[in-house]
Amino acid sequence: MSAAEIAAAVRAGERSAVEVAEEHLARIAEREGAVHAFNEVTAEAARRAAAEIDRRVAAGDDVGPLAGVPVAIKDNLCTKGVATTCSSRILEGWVPPYDATVVQRLAAAGAVAVGKTNLDEFAMGSSTENSAFGATRNPVDLDRVPGGSSGGSAAAVAAGFAPLALGSDTGGSIRQPAAFCGVVGVKPTYGLVSRYGLIAFASSLDQVGPFARTVADAALLLEVTAGHDPADATSIPQAAPSIAAHLDDGVSGLRVGVVRELMGEGIDPAIAARVREAAEALAAAGASVEEVSVPAVTYGLSAYYLIAPAEASSNLARFDGVRYGLRVDAPTTNEMMVATRTAGFGAEVKRRIMLGTYALSAGYYDAFYGKAQKVRTLICRDFAAAYERVDVLLSPTTPTTAFEVGAIADPLTMYLNDICTIPTNLAGDAAMSVPFGTDATGLPVGVQVLAPALGEVAMFRAAAVLEAAAPSTAEEDA
């Protein structure tokens, strides 16, 4: 059942939220041991919340658009009274004294939180192998990674543990795992969804967004979480667009551009072929399709791996053993901070903190961070020029389908997973991954739909058409 169907049935009193919660908790009990999507399953809290929804429905209350819908929450979003770890030893056991704004909005909409999902430590990674608490597996093929960093959220949705999940996307951390697990994942326009209570990785790039099994469910979750929040100074001070109302509008007259630079070198030809099929499907539905050049996207990875670590090195300075989390005792405060951070952070987090510290340090600032910021300007300009010609862009979400657990040990090779997704974060634009068939081995392929800032309506219209046109597994087998 989709999230929309569950909410409708619960609101109408046709299904009990407790029954829905039990059904999903049973599925978790059955398969979570193999998948490891969660750092913590909050079964008792979910049962209590579901019972309260049922009580309110019986009393005639309007319980909201996500009435009784189970939702999984990435473990870098603060949940009052429930441990929030970022899958790091340095925050192990930390219980936040407040809820992230998106968590508050979920509860107000009647959703039932079922647990906190695993991630690459502090959202730094593309495979969910960099978790202090063990790797998450891809439910489609347990020998493969689910992608990352929001791999736990993607796996939870793909495994049917919850119809909806929240993740965060700094360079592709929602879209890439969505593509690997065969679900829908959305990186909204920067500022559309509040970051209050999202533990910061790179503040000018981070954005919270939805995972779902259908495009309509992703729109539903985005609408519930989007909108201005005074607690986040970078939140856009205007009403969020209504997306669901336009899902059936089709793409007649929509101008679509296929990004030339993301269709060749480094991209699995089977994936590029699926993107071309997706473009044909949009054309068949009435869109005009052309190839568009966005030259600076090829420099996205280089700019990102200076800007994101620079911001991370500053953001993660707060983990020093003073106010929360781990403290390793030592005679002086400086020695305590060094001992705490050395014991608490994993290798990838240390690597990025050092890279960022280096890029910002005296003598290197202009050569690295300063130059990366200028490249960011070029990427913004090239996207803006492309969006003069077209309404949405199309590309692969990932250069390959899901790889095997343990297959990529070299950090730079791992970073290359995000070449198609990173440019959108640098520009602050919107993009989403929609499942579109499989490769020859049956692994899911994701097609990325990109849109300018606040272009979510056109992006979702294209995504809805792609969802309806996607080659089914059955056809593949035939």
């Binding site: 930390w94 219980v95 004294p97 407040y98 920067y190 500022g191 000018s204 005074p230 100074a233 970078t234 420099y299 990875l301 280089s302 700019a303 791996y305 200076l306 090195s313 300075a317 053993g321 003073v322 106010r323 929360y324 989390g325 403290r327 030592a330 005679p331 002086t332 405060t333 400086n334 020695e335 305590m336 060094v338 001992a339 951070r341 050395t342 952070f345 240390k350 690597r351 050092m354 890279l355 510290t357 280096y358 340090s361 690295f368 300063g370 130059k371 990366a372 910021q373 200028k374 490249v375 960011r376 300007t377 070029l378 913004c380 070299d410 950090p411 730079l412 970073y415 602050g428 800032a453």
Partner: protein, 100 residues
């Protein structure tokens, strides 16, 4: 191997970032950071002389709110997760070398 960043540079950066690395880690990180910086050097092909830097997706200036009191965490809530606290404050070890 890359010569873009030296082992001494990595040791210096680790000190700035309050991280302690053993000899093997220094070798590994020096090689890995060098490879990442080598890749990032592809931007040297671009003429960036007249390009303004972008630090943020929006042209944010100041975001102000009314200077009105609102709800905040009580001291006990703010200190609840502290590894050590005393008299409504975070307690840390010696800072300047005085007796603890």
């Amino acid at each position: 191997m890359s010569e873009r960043i030296s082992r001494d540079d990595v040791a210096h950066v680790a000190r700035l970032a309050r991280l302690s690395l053993d000899e093997a880690e220094l070798d590994t990180f020096t090689a890995q950071l060098g490879a990442i910086l080598d890749h990032a050097a592809d931007v040297e092909a671009l003429d960036l002389a007249d390009v303004a830097p972008t630090s943020h997706p929006f042209d944010l200036v100041n975001v102000l709110r009314a200077d009105a009191a609102g709800p905040t965490l009580a001291p006990a809530e703010a200190l609840a997760a502290a590894p050590s606290a005393e008299d409504d404050r975070f307690r840390v070890p010696t800072i300047l070398g005085e007796a603890p």
